[in-house]
Symmetry: C2
Subunit: 295 residues, 2 copies
C-alpha cells in the first residue's frame, strides 16, 4: 500500500492576462510546496477568465496544445518543487477540435496523464458545448509519485458514473478542478441550496466509493466585456474523506491554499467496514448505458 | 404530468410479536391517512425484530409468501383508507429461496408491484446474505394511483447505480425502507459520521437524479435473546427534495409519522435547470458492469 501524501487545492481568482494567471498559479504551487504539499491542484481553466459565459469564435485563440507552453512552464515548477501538479487547460487538439483537458504533471516534470472532460455542460452562462468537444479519453486514474489520482473536471462532479468508473481504477482521491458560481440575480433565492447540492453530491461520491474527493474552484466576480451580471464564482473548495466527512473547506471570497492528508490506510479501513464494492450487482447494471428507461 | 401527492414515513419500533407489529403498522397507516397521506411507507422488515443479527435456521419460520397473510391484511387497510402502502417483508418464495421483498399495495388494495432487494449486506450484526437470496427483479419503479414510485430497500441506498436505474424508469421518488443502527460499542466514536454518511449519500442520489428520496427507518434498541449489545436503530427517517434539501427528518428515538409533498413540477423544474440526464455519457459507461478495473 502506498504511503499517505498531502494534497493542496489552490483557490484563486483569475487575472485577465493569461501570463499573469500562470505566474500567479506558479507562485501558489511554490507556496503550497513549502507548506508541505505533495500534489497541487489548480482550478478549472485557471489560465483565463471563464470565457464560456458567451459564445465567441475569437475565444478559440485562448486555446493551446497540451503538452504545450503552459504545461512546459508548470512541468519545470513541478520538477523544481518536486510536487505533482494538476493543471486544467483549454486544449487545442486540431483545427475545430478543442477540449477541456486536465494535465497531470508528475513530480519529475513528466506528463503523467491527460484527461479530457467527458461531461460537457451547456446552460445559461456556461456555454461549454460550444467550446469543448466531449472527451474521448474515458474516465481515468493515473499513477503519480505519491499515489493514484482520479482526474475529473467540474460538470463530471454531478455524475455518479464518472466517480465510480474512476474509483474502480484504484484512485485514492478524485480531484475536480472547477469553475462554478452564482448568477447574481439568482443568488439570494437559490444560492445556498445550489452550493449545498454541489457539496453534497460530491460528498456522496466519497461515501459511495470509500474514497477522498477534492474540488478546487476559483473565486471572483467575473463580468464579461459584453455585459450582463456575470458569474460570482463561489469558492468553497473542499476535500472530503472516504466517509464524506469534510476535511477542509474554503471561503466563498478568499484566495487560499487548502491542504488535506490522503491516507490509503483510511480508504482500506472504510472499505472493510462498508464493503460496497464487494456487493455491486454488476449483473444488473447493463441499462446504465441507456438514456432513459421508458415506462 | 401527474399531480402532487403526500408521502408519509412510519418511523416505529417493532414489538417481538409479529401480530402486534402488523396491528401497530395498520394503526399508523390509518393515522397517516387521516393526516392526509396518499402513500404510506413502513420500515424494512417491520413485522419482526431485526432477526439478521444472528444466523439461525429457525428464523426462516418468520418468512411468508408475498402476496400472503400480511399483504392481504394491509391491502384491506390500503383499500379502506384509499392509500398506497409500501410494505417490506421477509418473503418465502420456495424451499430454501427467501428474499427481502418490498410489496407496493395500490390504493385499491391491488398489488401494484413487488421488488426484491438487489444488494444484500453482510457484516457483523447484519447477516443478510444468510437469509436473503439476491433479488432477481432488477431495479423497479411502479405506477400507483398517485404517482410513479421507485422501490428500493436499505443496503441499496449506498449504490448510485440502483438510484439511477430506478430514476431512469420515471420514478418521482425513491423510497428506501431501512433497518440501520449503531453498534453501541462503536456509537460514541463513529456514530455521528455513520449517520451523516447515510443521510449524505442518499441526498446525493436526490441531487444526481433530480428526484425525491425517502428513507424510513425503525427505532429501538434490539438485543437478541442470544445476547450481545444488539443494535440501536437510529431512526432519522427523512425525505429529501430533488436538490438534496431535507424536507422532513425524524428523531433518533421517537415513533413518528413524517410527511412530505412530492411535486412532479418540482422535479421538472430542477431537471430543466440542472440537466444531468441530458448529458450522461452513455457511450462511456460500459465498464460499470465490471467488478474492478485493475490498473
Amino acid at each position: 500500500m502506498s504511503t499517505p501524501f498531502t494534497i493542496a487545492l489552490v483557490q484563486m481568482s483569475v487575472p485577465a492576462d493569461p501570463t499573469k494567471s500562470v505566474a500567479k498559479a506558479e507562485q501558489f504551487i511554490r507556496r503550497a510546496a513549502r507548506q508541505g504539499a505533495d500534489v497541487v491542484c489548480l482550478p478549472e481553466l485557471f489560465r483565463t477568465p471563464y470565457f464560456c459565459q458567451h459564445e465567441d469564435p475569437d475565444n478559440f485563440n485562448l486555446a493551446e496544445p497540451v503538452p504545450g507552453p503552459t504545461t512546459r512552464l508548470l512541468a519545470a515548477t513541478a520538477r523544481e518543487e518536486q510536487v505533482v501538479v494538476l493543471a486544467s487547460l483549454f486544449e487545442r487538439r486540431g483545427p475545430g477540435v478543442h477540449h477541456n483537458t486536465l494535465a497531470l504533471l508528475d513530480a519529475d516534470g513528466e506528463l503523467a496523464g491527460l484527461y479530457r472532460k467527458m461531461h460537457i455542460p451547456d446552460d445559461p452562462g456556461y456555454y461549454e458545448k460550444y467550446y469543448f468537444a466531449p472527451g474521448d479519453t474515458g474516465f481515468k486514474a493515473f499513477t503519480t509519485r505519491f499515489g493514484r489520482i482520479g482526474a475529473l473536471v467540474c460538470w463530471d462532479q454531478w455524475f455518479p458514473e464518472a466517480a465510480r468508473l474512476t474509483a474502480l481504477q484504484g484512485a485514492l482521491a478524485l480531484v475536480y478542478p472547477t469553475a462554478i458560481g452564482w448568477h447574481p440575480e439568482e443568488k439570494s433565492e437559490y444560492g445556498d441550496e445550489q452550493l449545498e447540492a454541489w457539496v453534497t453530491v460530491q460528498r456522496g461520491h466519497a461515501v459511495a466509493n470509500g474514497i477522498y474527493v477534492a474540488a478546487v474552484n476559483r473565486i471572483g466576480h467575473e463580468i464579461p466585456a459584453t455585459g450582463g451580471q456575470g458569474i460570482e464564482f463561489w469558492g468553497n473548495s473542499f476535500v472530503a474523506g472516504p466517509m464524506g466527512e469534510i476535511l477542509c473547506r474554503g471561503h466563498a471570497k478568499n484566495e487560499e491554499i487548502l491542504m488535506a492528508r490522503i491516507d490509503p490506510q483510511r480508504v482500506e479501513t472504510v472499505r472493510r467496514h462498508w464493503p460496497f464494492l464487494r456487493d455491486r450487482r454488476i449483473d444488473a447494471y447493463d441499462e446504465l448505458t441507456r438514456r432513459f428507461l421508458d415506462p
